[in-house]
Point group: C2
Chain length 340, copies 2
């Protein structure tokens, strides 16, 4: 998502970030079905059947666990995201809990395994993309089986015709092209839970699993860009800085802005979020004076957690929620404007 | 566009490539207008007025002039595209020639200048993105003022609410967020025509302008990918290779495939294109044997021009239409398939 799209509450279609482990499958929604296996009453549900169930529409913010990876000094080997792996969509689907209730969760089930259709080779292992989630998290009211995005059928690259939505968690949780849910009585030890998406600083360490999105804010790029470097050029005078803030662990309570390289901070104006699971807009009025400046933003959530100046590195390059710093060149000589 | 989308005639919404010199402007289509300046009867046309004019819907293939740039040995400094900067959409708009007729092109007009709303700094010069096109090319029947893409309002990142479409030309010609057309009596010497988008091997050379798309074919990635390297793993046995071929200079006449590292070539089956300005699908049946193979495709157009094994480099990294080569690892031991 180009960061100028931070100006929109709901990320316009085609601008929401996409991270795809393998290839995009192009599926036929008239024949695709979701099977529930290992339940008291195994089910197979078509898209029509899912759409006829109770429907919820909810704005939710997604962020890739690897967003900011390329900004770690060590540049971990994987998708080299800068800061664009984020977006907010209006997702429509049916609550997962109701489907689980109908299927009957067997006693002793600790986790559910969500399996997508996409296949590839990762860590030397051929696999379908699949992730397990604790039954407790999966039963939360806000967890949905999603079939529409921004009022339209879920597009192929976002998991169409069916994906999981676990608001508040990093993107890898929201399994796309969802084909199967399996009730598990033993902890899942598959690749995407046990090997990938863990916070390690030593390859031999097991590491904590990546889960909910850390508190974060980003700024829409002020002024106009250079091409192709994308440095920012801002006219001197009054300008409004703006951006978004979100957290998967607690509500956002505060956003601050620094215009002097993170020396001093001042409160930004914070607007209500469109849902408990979507980002807040923030704004900050700045009188820009000619010269080079570093502007920055940081958010704090209701647990009192504030974004750090530098995030602790980890081998996977996950969860880099460091303060967003933007270097801007302020000029007091507006040049020729050729378009009105 | 992830190359698996080469399997679709029309690139699904959100998967078509996007190259944006500056930031995406988010414009209000109810107030946006196109002005025609320097004409006999200067006009200002709203979107409603443009939509009430004769309408044409046409599939057309677009490719960025920089597609393949990162595959040149010299890695020219700009957007480091591999091969994904291509797509085909169904564009709807009104023929430009009719609008020009109503405005009255003054005698002595040699070129028209198309100016977008997007602004940035490039080559040290603050500018709106704008490109000139000869009157002769601009008057062609297939040149459109486009307000819809794949049956929906043109999205912001594709130039919404209004862009130029010059089928057959590289992407830079199709000015987005179009705000003004100016009739010029002298050759235009602005940045995007005189400095950028020229084929140079010496910085002091003026160079030939980049114009129509060179003959090219690409292959949808066979088999399944590795993550994150995106190497290809293919099961042994019968497999169908497929892809697309297009040219901005003459109709496609032939596509050939090599499965032995470009030593020998055999004809692929070529399907009709959905329009004279859109790509053709091609297919090729291959019996894959275990081991490492290099498969490749090349197209030939009606002028007898065939894609080269290596394209001649140029400083901008433009128009790299070299043969598409894909290294695949064929295995005869299918591993566990966990999704049905």
């Amino acid at each position: 998502m180009p960061l100028e799209a931070l100006r929109a509450d709901i990320t316009p279609a085609g601008l929401h970030y996409v991270l795809i482990h393998y290839d995009v499958p192009f599926l036929d929604e008239s024949t695709h079905a979701l099977s529930l296996e290992g339940f008291d009453r195994p089910l197979s549900l078509t898209l029509d059947e899912l759409r006829s169930r109770p429907s919820v529409t909810m704005p939710a913010t997604f962020e890739c666990a690897g967003n900011g990876r390329a900004l770690f000094d060590a540049r971990p080997f994987s998708q080299p995201w800068l800061l664009e792996a984020v977006g907010t969509a209006e997702w429509s689907g049916t609550p997962l809990a109701g489907v689980l209730h109908d299927a009957g969760v067997p006693g002793g089930t600790g986790e559910l395994l969500f399996t997508g259709v996409d296949r590839g080779v990762e860590g030397g292992e051929e696999q379908s993309y699949e992730r397990a989630l604790s039954l407790e998290e999966a039963m939360r009211d806000e967890v949905l089986l999603v079939y529409a995005m921004n009022g339209r059928a879920l597009p192929p690259q976002h998991g169409g015709p069916l994906r999981l939505l676990v608001p508040g968690w990093y993107g890898m949780t929201n399994v796309k092209w969802l084909a199967r849910i399996t009730a598990l009585s033993a902890p899942y030890e598959g690749y995407q839970n046990a090997v990938a998406y863990r916070l390690r600083t030593d390859p031999d360490e097991r590491g904590e699993p990546v889960s909910r999105m850390r508190v974060r804010s980003l700024m829409a790029p002020p002024g106009i860009p250079t091409f192709p470097e994308r440095e920012r050029v801002v006219p001197s005078g009054q300008t409004t800085l703006e951006g978004r803030a979100w957290s998967g662990t607690a509500p956002i309570e505060r956003v601050e802005v620094s215009v002097d390289g993170c020396e001093r901070w001042a409160d930004a104006a914070l607007e209500p979020a469109p849902s408990p699971y979507a980002w807040h807009r923030w704004t900050f009025d700045w009188t820009a004076t000619p010269g080079i400046h570093e502007v920055a933003c940081r958010a704090t959530d209701a647990d009192g957690v504030t974004q750090p100046l530098e995030a602790e590195p980890n081998l996977g390059g996950y969860a880099n929620n460091a303060v967003h710093r933007v270097r801007v060149s302020v000029t007091d000589r507006p040049r020729r404007i050729s378009a009105s």
